[in-house]
Symmetry: C2
Subunit: 138 residues, 2 copies
């Protein structure tokens, strides 16, 4: 927390969040929004609502559990809506909220950066002493 | 992989990366660069090199193991440099590379977004049926 007079004044209306503080909820939010599944879900919903099954197909390799959990977290935080249509079988659609669209604009460059700079990163990895270019671990 | 003629031509010089593909290395890179510790380290090094101990102090609550592992991954990928000065005790400094500075510009908005929108997200969480405002899990 910044403790200048200006910040203190602002605290009457609003708390200051600082992800450098271990206990600050913004650090946990940063973990959710930086999550790779979040980035892929937001990018997938950018052009319009999608059904659960469409998202699962689109995001290759995501487990059912991880997809469901991430969607739940995003819904809880007001970033996506979940609409259930009483048909047979039941239809579930996900869509970005205005806040989700706002976040998508911030997260999209991360996915783009990873795709655009992969070559440079792999070149650097291969140049490491004792590097195995195939061995990509994080 | 996109298999249009244009993309195929481009593949002679350069591979296309797509984080939607389970086996694409860019998905693993996305995981590293979206990591909250990465965001906090890059933001910490934005204004100049820092010693290991400074970073550890700055990023409250990070474990020694997690900090070391993240720094190693960032160094391996050419995003930071590690400079060892033979003094007593040995001094280790970390600094952003040009590629690291480039990534920092993309990651910083994520940290800012989390801090700036925390209030809205918490309000939304508290409005959930059966929500406990204190229970923040991700």
């Amino acid at each position: 927390m910044v403790t200048t007079t200006a910040a203190r004044r602002r605290q009457e209306a609003k708390v200051r969040y600082d992800a450098y503080l271990a206990g600050c909820p913004s650090r946990q939010l940063l973990e959710l929004i930086g999550n790779k599944w979040t980035a892929l879900i937001l990018a997938g919903l950018h052009n319009g609502p999608q059904r659960h099954s469409e998202l699962a197909r689109h995001i290759a390799g995501v487990s059912q559990k991880m997809l469901t959990q991430t969607l739940r977290n995003l819904e809880r935080d007001g970033l996506i809506t979940r609409t259930v249509t009483a048909s047979v079988p039941v239809r579930v659609d996900y869509a970005l909220t205005p806040l989700g669209h706002d976040l998508q604009r911030v997260v999209q460059p991360l996915k783009d950066w990873a795709e655009q700079h992969m070559e440079q990163v792999l070149t650097h990895r291969a140049a490491q002493p004792g590097a195995l270019p195939e061995a990509i671990t994080i």
